[in-house]
Each structure stands twice: as C-alpha cells, then as structure tokens.
C-alpha cells in the first residue's frame, strides 16, 4: 500500500495537445527535460529546486510514468494517462509514494471511520 494522490480532469483538447502541454516546460516544472524512453533521464527544475528521476514507461500520447525526487528524499511515482473522451481528453494523474517497509493493505488508520477506536484516536 502506498500514499496516493489521484486527480482527473477533462479538457477540450486532443490527447496530443494535452500530451504536448504536460510534457513541455512550465507544467511539471519551469524547465523540464524528459528523455522519452523507458529508463530515460528526467529532470524538473522549478524555483531553483531540482527534481531528478527517470522515465518508467512511455506510450505517446496516452501514457507517461516516471519517478521523481528532490535530493535524497524518497522518490514518488507519477503516472499520467490521457484518453480521448467526449470530444476532448481525459487526463488522469496518480502520484504514489510507496511505503515499502510494511504492507498496509486493509489497514484502517485513525480517522478512517468505521473503526471502533476511542474518540481520542479518531480525533487524532
């Protein structure tokens, strides 16, 4: 199990237009350098902060997955999917941060609701 962020957005543009926008300078970083092949280098610079990583998989203009990290911080994985939908494109973004130490599948965390813990834990 991982920490996970998921977003979806429909845009009135073709998948290729969306692809161009999300891989260009100014979106994933002020300056973006992506070597579009599996194992390719990836660099993203924004406000003097450099994120480095590598490309996991590319299928233009539908799918791009890569890993990135700032310095020695744990890396996270980003997956962008672009699908033609309703005369436009649906962009789906998933960023995950694998927590590799322990498997968290099915673990109800405090605050998750439906767990019979005390009010103090739920409030935390």
């Amino acid at each position: 199990m991982t920490d996970r962020i998921e977003r979806e957005l429909w845009l009135p543009a073709t998948p290729q237009e969306v692809w161009d926008a999300v891989t260009s300078d100014g979106w994933l970083g002020d300056r973006v350098s992506l070597e579009l092949r599996p194992g390719g280098d990836a660099e993203f610079e924004s406000d003097g902060e450099l994120r480095t990583g590598w490309v996991e998989d590319v299928s233009m203009p539908e799918r791009l997955s890569f890993w990135w990290a700032v310095g020695q911080e744990p890396a996270s994985r980003v997956e962008l999917r672009i699908l033609e939908r309703d005369n436009g494109s649906r962009l789906r973004i998933v960023e995950t941060r694998p927590l590799d130490r322990l498997d968290l599948v099915g673990v109800p965390l405090p605050g998750a609701g439906g767990v019979g813990y005390g009010p103090a834990l739920v409030a935390a």
């Binding site: 996970r4 977003r7 429909w10 999300v22 020695q72 927590l99 130490r101 109800p108 405090p110 103090a120």
Partner: protein, 156 residues
C-alpha cells in the same frame, strides 16, 4: 527522531499503525491518563513482554512519549507524526491542483463545455479513503488542512 525526513517518518508511522495490536494499544493509551505497561497488559489479552515490544515500536515511530514514574514508565499518546503523512498528501495534492488549474487555463478555456459527468475527481488516500480531499476550487492555493485532522488529542 526529529532529524529524520518527514517522508521517512510517515513510513515509520504507518508501519507502526499497521499492526492491530499496536492500534488497540494506542487506543487504550489515548483513553487513559498515561498508563504503564503493566496497566496496559491487564487490559489486553497479551503479555506485558508483548506490550513492551509494541510500545517500543510505537515510541520509535514517535507516536508515544515515555516518562519515568517511580519504577515504571508511563506512556502518553503523541499524535504529531500522524500529520506527516497527511502533510505529504496535502502538499502534493495542492501541487497537482495548481498544475491542473494551469492546464485548464491553457487548454480548457473555451469553446466546448465539459460533458455532464465529466467533472473533476480527486482522491487522496493513505490507506483510508476519506481523508483530505482538497476541492478543485482550492487549486492554486495551498489546500486547507483536512478537517478530520486535529493537532490536539481529545484525551491526554
């Protein structure tokens, strides 16, 4: 503990919470005024030795504060580290909201309107499904802290 990176600590926190016995222990500690291992063992169907082992794991993750009281050690729940994981998701979620807002301005302004049912969707999870969900309207601004998260324990 405090020298570790927040992301690193979040992993330790979720690891510590991944064990049902440890969660039960934490709940028991949060509900009582600074119990000792002996008192906790009396409440739970596990030995004092086992209780101590789990208490150590929880303390390692920064979820417990230990203080010596006579011959025994008393434990208090310190929920602070729980916020690290939430912080990561809040920060990263806000970054994506901002990027999506940029895209919408760049490609979305326009002639076609979004088809019904094609509204934005956002999900943020840390093993749970109902944590922070920054609204799309918060794009471009830092997401507000999730309402379920409070920094002060209700008991303590």
């Amino acid at each position: 503990m405090s020298k570790r990176e927040p992301e690193d600590r979040a992993g330790a926190v979720f690891g510590a919470l991944s064990d049902p016995t440890r969660r039960a222990l934490l709940a028991a500690i949060a509900e009582h005024p600074a119990p000792t291992a002996t008192e906790l063992a009396a409440q739970l169907p596990i030995s004092r030795q086992a209780v101590l082992k789990h208490l150590n794991a929880l303390a390692e993750a920064g979820l417990l504060d230990r203080s010596r009281s006579g011959r025994e050690v008393r434990y208090r729940f310190t929920p602070g580290p729980l916020s690290d994981a939430v912080d990561w998701m809040t920060a990263v979620g806000a970054e994506w909201d901002e990027r999506l807002a940029v895209l919408r301005r760049q490609l979305g302004a326009g002639t076609k309107s979004a088809p019904s049912g094609a509204a934005e969707r956002s999900t943020t999870s840390a093993g749970s499904r109902d944590r922070a969900r920054p609204s799309p309207r918060s794009a471009g601004r830092p997401a507000p802290p999730p309402s379920r998260h409070r920094s002060t324990p209700a008991a303590g």
